[in-house]
């Protein structure tokens, strides 16, 4: 595979960025939706292939782009979920066209924005320049804002407006933090582009002014924390997930939240290099636990099925943030595994929820019940997804949560009690809902599902395999990254 990489005219990094970018104008002009959906799949598949090639590519760094263990794993995950979601989306939007919720003109826009979002997320992941990373997250945010509002119903516009205002303010504050980091690093590294390169900043972290660094992190935390959906800054998240098209809910939950958390972790690594700066771990642990508990309680009173799983995303980002807050090789390992598993399982759940909502013609939980008798296959997929996400064995989420709880007990016994309480609360809420949706009395309308179940079961299968057996290479890799995170 290394020979293959060497033989390519462009490096895999360039491919990961260029393929989606070049597809944007093409997708924007194709009016036949079948063709554009197929092309969207093809482009996402090619991007995934380029992401896989990165595995064999040598680690490299420039002032603008960087490839290291940490981002390779996230790029592969992002392009993979991007690909499966595009497959799912192709069948999903066909139904939306038939029911008249979307028009072909909007679909052109939708596909172009889909690739814009994928390209921007990849850009945020491969940037070494902290300004470029910010640009990537900003463009990804704007692209998703446009897609959340695409149905043009009052609810969708409200959700998009809220997402836009809160997301922009968050991203604005993150930019302020980025400038502060540059200000402090330029006094040591010297003015110019190298002072914005993340690896240079990390190398010189100990020499940087700790007070300014701490102030910068506060802005970055509030800014990128808003994008992660951490508790006090989460208000946009449930609306954006509930009102947009379901494939977008899947990528929002499965990918964009991860990318924002990734950005936050990069800056955590900078502060970890400076002993006099504020203790980032304590802040992350607090925010993580607050998000977990808050979301766990909120789960009980949801009436909308997509909103229910949006709160579950807040819960899981809280768990991952808590893991990184504790730090150390084991907890970081658990955090990374949790990010990966959540990404796979949550997007699978949204695939299932999208089918359910289309079959039942509603997202109201009260009107959805008795799937096991009307749609047995879908019911199995949905039930397995919920079982996986609440952290029951044998799925991968159980592994990561078990690992986290067992290491956390040694380090922070009291906080772990809170963590476990939150996990159990969330488990109760989701199982209760699952019980009604799957085994309740069937009622309301129920159309047959024409869409493909393949992406749903592929994701669940991967989560199952990861729960039973993690390949040695993957374990070694996660260990390496966990050590990197400090």
């Amino acid at each position: 595979m290394t020979d293959l990489v060497a033989a390519l005219p462009l490096s895999p990094v360039a491919l990961v960025l260029l393929v989606p970018t070049l597809a944007i104008p093409v997708l924007a002009v194709i009016s036949d939706y079948r063709l554009s959906a197929g092309l969207n799949m093809l482009v996402s598949g090619l991007t995934f292939a380029a992401g896989l090639l990165l595995l064999a590519a040598p680690h490299e760094r420039g002032d603008f782009l960087i490839i290291d263990d940490f981002n390779i794993f996230l790029i592969v995950l992002t392009t993979f979920v991007g690909f499966t979601t595009s497959v799912y989306s192709a069948s999903y939007i066909g139904h939306e066209l038939e029911t008249g919720k979307l028009t072909p003109a909007f679909l052109r826009f939708y596909h172009a924005m889909y690739q814009a979002m994928m390209g921007a997320m990849n850009l945020a992941l491969v940037s070494n320049n902290i300004g470029l990373m910010w640009v990537g997250l900003e463009v990804a945010t704007l692209a998703t804002v446009m897609m959340v509002g695409i149905y043009r119903t009052p609810e969708a516009i409200e959700a998009a407006w809220k997402y836009f205002i809160l997301g922009s303010v968050g991203i604005g504050l993150a930019f302020f933090g980025t400038i502060l980091i540059y200000m402090v690093s330029s006094t040591v590294i010297g003015a110019g582009v190298p002072a914005m390169a993340w690896d240079e900043i990390v190398r010189n972290a100990a020499a940087l002014d700790p007070k300014l660094l701490s102030l910068a992190f506060v802005f970055l935390l509030v800014g990128y924390g808003t994008k992660v959906g951490l508790a006090p800054f989460h208000a946009w998240l449930p609306d954006a997930h509930a009102e947009g098209p379901t494939p977008i809910s899947a990528v929002l939950s499965g990918l964009l939240l991860n990318v924002a958390l990734y950005a936050l972790l990069r800056f955590k690594m900078v502060l970890a290099g400076n002993p006099l700066a504020i203790d980032v771990g304590a802040i992350l642990m607090t925010l993580g636990l607050v998000s977990l508990l808050f979301a766990a309680f909120m789960l009980y009173r949801r009436r909308d099925i997509k909103r229910l799983f949006a709160y579950s995303s807040i819960e899981h980002m809280g768990i991952a943030t808590f893991a990184f807050g504790i730090g150390g090789p084991l907890a970081n390992f658990a955090g990374l595994l949790h990010m990966t598993m959540h990404s796979l399982v949550k997007s699978a759940i949204f695939f299932a929820v999208g089918h359910v909502a289309q079959a039942k013609g509603t997202q109201r939980l009260a009107d959805i019940s008795g799937l096991s008798s009307t749609h047995p296959v879908l019911a199995v997929g949905f039930a397995l997804g919920v079982i996986a996400i609440v952290g029951l064995p044998p799925f991968g989420v159980f592994m990561s949560e078990f690992l986290l709880v067992s290491t956390a007990f040694g380090r922070q016994p009291l906080l772990t009690v809170v963590l476990v309480a939150g996990l159990i609360l969330a488990l109760g809420a989701l199982l209760m809902r699952m019980q009604q949706v799957v085994f309740g009395e069937p009622r309301g309308k129920s159309d047959p599902v024409k869409a493909s179940y393949v992406p749903l079961f592929v994701h669940l299968l991967l989560a199952l395999v990861a729960g039973l057996w993690l390949p040695e290479a993957l374990v070694r890799w996660f260990r390496g990254v966990a050590a990197l995170l400090g």
Partner: protein
Amino acid sequence: MNALWFDIAHLLAAGVLVLSLMLLYQDRITAVINVFALQAVVLSLSVGWQSVVQGAPHLLATAFIALVAKGIVIPTALHRIVRKLDVHREVERVVSGGPTMLAGLGLIALSILLVQPVVETADPVAREDFAFALAVVLLGLLLMITRRNAVTQVVGFMSLENGLVLAATGAKGMPLVVEVSVAFSVLIAFIVFGVFVFRIRERFDTVDVNVLDRFRGERREHL
């Protein structure tokens, strides 16, 4: 550095801040847009001056973008939207003028107290500029919170971004990439805002974002 140069840089940055305060107590949407345009002009002067002081010609491009986009094009377009939507009545406030101004003064004091002791290492121009920039960002946030008209929220957000540009140009030698991206993002922001303002109007018959509260997901059933 020449003391006069320093004073002029200081004056222009402070001018941006004063205009931010002025935004807070404007009652009419048209006045809000005009003050915002003036702020963008002063910002571009400030950025242009920084370009001379730092000997960084590429900052002139940033100044030019700020002047043309935020000083002329966006305010003109916003005026047009306001005329078209027929909303040049009083601006409705959530909080009245007096307390808003007091909160604004509090935020300025906060940002000076926060930044001054922390940024000891940077050179004095950068330090003062930075305190001003933070205050402009916070005042922009305050404007967004205290108004409930979609157009005024747009202005609040762009005034927040003015603060970001002020901070970015105050940091010596910050690469052009970022400045272009700021200008670029403002343009995108404007397009998106324009689209949304019209859609809000189309769907709700008003640009008062308070109306949006009615549809807050969970309450839908009680309608």
